[in-house]
């Protein structure tokens, strides 16, 4: 057979031409797919946001050791109550450079005509436990009635909010200080938070006095946080604290493990499962779309085979369309999430590595999904092009 040895240079890209021919239908399909992939990205972003928010609260005070009630995992995983004067004992330990008492509680308040659920963190002003800087305004400098609120609360500098029986003024704002449950954080002085958490309402207090009960001390905290000398082994200091039977101690790493391992773990599993289901649904949808598109052009494929098109050209036609659909859907989806993530009730944190990973998965899914269409196309008999 006389073969012609012309230089191969393809000018007719069949996949591109067919897409261009049915552009509206193709783009509409891509938009549908992008919404689906947008949801996948949102789910991952929500999980990342959830973990990051939870860890931000934990990392902001720059703590090395968490001192909690013995036998508990600390204030984020379960209830922990220790006397407020524990701080003095911890501060005096060798290797500790600073210590502060903290409280954590969830409160509900009304602000600007809407209900707010807030994660109130009480700390000793000037001691570890609170934020070191704010995104707007200033840190708390007075002992009472000042708060620092996260921007997600919707409050502005100078706003007043009633918590318990007292009113507080917002003096500073933070960004992304949110509890693992999604409630935005507010910071207040330890004394205010103790009153908010432990002080009885006047009728209840009067009743307690009338029945001769001991007057409750307000000086109770949920944890004492401490910074250790960098030259000292933090684990050894924590071990020293653990020897006191009424206290437990966790290093910062342990506390983060508790938070991500148990508190956030269920959310991770839920979101992970949901993401897997969505990706599976996406795969099925892409496969069905590619299959339908292939079925639509069986006669064309038969003609291509009859006039001598190699299988690789036909596989290329289907594969390129599948990949194009996935890539366009993914880019649209990512752009959509980037545009609207600020309107989500929870923070959506899109990390480049997550976006890249999902992009690769989508690419793989498209290639896998196109195999059904490719299989059908390869089975097409070129003889089908003949006849009416």
């Amino acid at each position: 057979m006389g073969r012609q040895n012309y230089k191969w240079k393809s000018a007719v890209n069949l996949a591109y031409r067919e897409v261009r021919h049915k552009l509206g239908r193709f783009l509409l399909t891509c938009v549908g797919l992008s919404l689906l992939l947008g949801v996948v990205l949102s789910m991952i972003g929500i999980y990342r946001g959830l973990v990051d928010d939870a860890l931000t609260i934990l990392r902001v005070p720059k703590i090395d050791i968490w001192v909690v009630e013995a036998g508990t995992l600390g204030p984020f995983a379960e209830a922990s109550r220790i006397p407020g004067d524990t701080r003095e004992a911890i501060a005096r330990l060798s290797g500790i450079t600073a210590a502060g008492a903290v409280t954590y509680q969830t409160v509900e308040a009304n602000h600007a005509g809407r209900k707010l659920r807030l994660y109130a963190i009480g700390y000793e002003v000037g001691r570890p436990g609170g934020p070191e800087q704010v995104s707007a305004g200033r840190l708390i400098v007075r002992s009472h009635y000042e708060i620092i609120a996260d921007e997600q609360t919707g409050m502005n500098l100078g706003d007043r909010i009633k918590l318990g029986r007292r009113s507080f003024t917002v003096v500073g704002l933070t960004k992304h200080h949110v509890a693992s449950g999604g409630d935005p954080a507010i910071y207040m002085s330890l004394r205010d938070s103790q009153v908010l958490q432990f002080e009885l309402a006047p009728p209840a207090a009067r009743r307690e006095i009338a029945r001769g009960a001991a007057v409750l001390s307000l000086d109770t905290v949920n944890a004492v946080v401490a910074r250790a000398d960098p030259k000292v082994d933090t684990e050894a200091v924590a071990d020293t604290i653990r020897r006191w039977k009424h206290l437990g101690a966790m290093t910062q790493q342990e506390q983060e493990r508790v938070l991500t391992g148990s508190v956030v773990d269920r959310a991770r599993k839920q979101i992970g499962l949901f993401t897997a289901i969505l990706l599976t649904v996406s795969t099925v949808i892409i496969a069905l779309i590619i299959y339908t598109m292939t079925m639509d052009k069986l006669r064309g494929i038969a003609t291509l085979k009859l006039i001598g098109a190699p299988d690789s050209r036909i596989i290329g036609l289907i594969l390129q369309q599948a990949v194009a659909m996935g890539v366009i859907g993914f880019v649209f989806g990512a752009a959509l999430v980037t545009l609207v993530h600020g309107h989500f009730p929870r923070r959506v944190l899109l990390l480049p590595q997550d976006v890249g990973l999902i992009g690769l998965i989508v690419l793989f899914v498209c290639i896998a999904a196109s195999s059904l269409g490719v299989r059908v196309a390869l089975k097409v008999d070129p003889a089908n092009a003949l006849g009416g």
Binding site: Y6, K7, A11, V12, P310, A385, G388
Partner: protein, 249 residues
């Protein structure tokens, strides 16, 4: 010359058939369900000949066309195309594909143009598949379209063409790689008698200019007198091989 023979292939002698079918049989199924679609059919078609395959539905016309077109292997018999003995166990699927690309042009009952390519690209695609560089392929495609008097529609999509125009573009595609054999399946079925006559005259002209053999399956009695010979099939057997004096336009 636009439609001269392939530069790499020697011009076949008119004494040597371009298509030689020797005792080709094809059956489907086995035992009680066995159907003999072709029974020891032998035909020869020479360069510049335009022949017709006639016969009632189920007589084996399309099966024979498929066998000659290298898209269906016969159960027994020999097929020689332009000097190459086909189906002798040395041919891979890819070789048959290449043979189709290099030596056979197909014209269909409906034009079978790819709806998403314009006329030029429908024709140029065959050339690209044969290894032509894109610009040269498009240039040759436009020349062919001009020759077949549809050059003014070169940028039109098939859906915008009339039946006659679409069939002429399909003929241009079939001729693009200068095939020595053209197989046509009911090429005039979708055309009125005037356009059918024009297409047949065109095919005859091409056969002469390109030294090609043209085999057409047809039921169209209006164009019987345009063929050099008519092979009539019945129940898978060659019933008649009639020579006609073709009426060239």
């Amino acid at each position: 010359m636009l439609l001269e023979g392939k530069p790499v292939a020697a011009a076949p002698s008119s004494k040597q058939p371009l298509v030689q079918v020797e005792k080709i049989s094809k059956h489907f199924g086995e035992g009680a369900t066995r159907v003999d679609a072709l029974r020891e059919v032998s035909i020869s078609v020479y360069p510049k000949e335009v022949v017709a395959l006639l016969g009632p539905s189920g007589s084996g016309k399309t099966t024979l066309l498929n066998a000659i077109g290298c898209i269906m292997e016969p159960s027994s018999g020999h097929l020689t195309l332009d000097g190459d003995l086909v189906y002798d166990n040395r041919w891979l699927k890819s070789d048959l594909r290449r043979l189709r690309l290099d030596k056979i042009g197909f014209i269909f009952q409906t034009n079978n143009l790819l709806p998403f390519l314009d006329c030029t690209d429908n024709v140029a695609l065959v050339l690209e598949l044969a290894g032509w560089e894109g610009v040269k392929a498009r240039s040759r495609a436009i020349e062919l379209l001009d020759y077949l008097e549809v050059g003014h529609r070169k940028h039109a999509l098939p859906a915008k063409l009339s039946g006659g125009e679409a069939q002429r573009v399909a003929i241009a595609r079939a001729l693009a790689n200068r095939p020595s054999i053209i197989l046509a399946d009911e090429p005039t079925a979708a055309l009125d008698s005037r356009r059918a006559g024009i297409v047949m005259d065109l095919l005859r002209k091409l056969a002469i200019e390109q030294n090609a053999a043209i085999i057409a399956v047809t039921h169209d009695d209006k164009i019987f007198n345009r063929f050099d010979r008519i092979f009539e099939l019945r129940d898978g057997m060659l019933e008649a091989d009639r020579k006609l004096k073709a009426k060239a336009n």
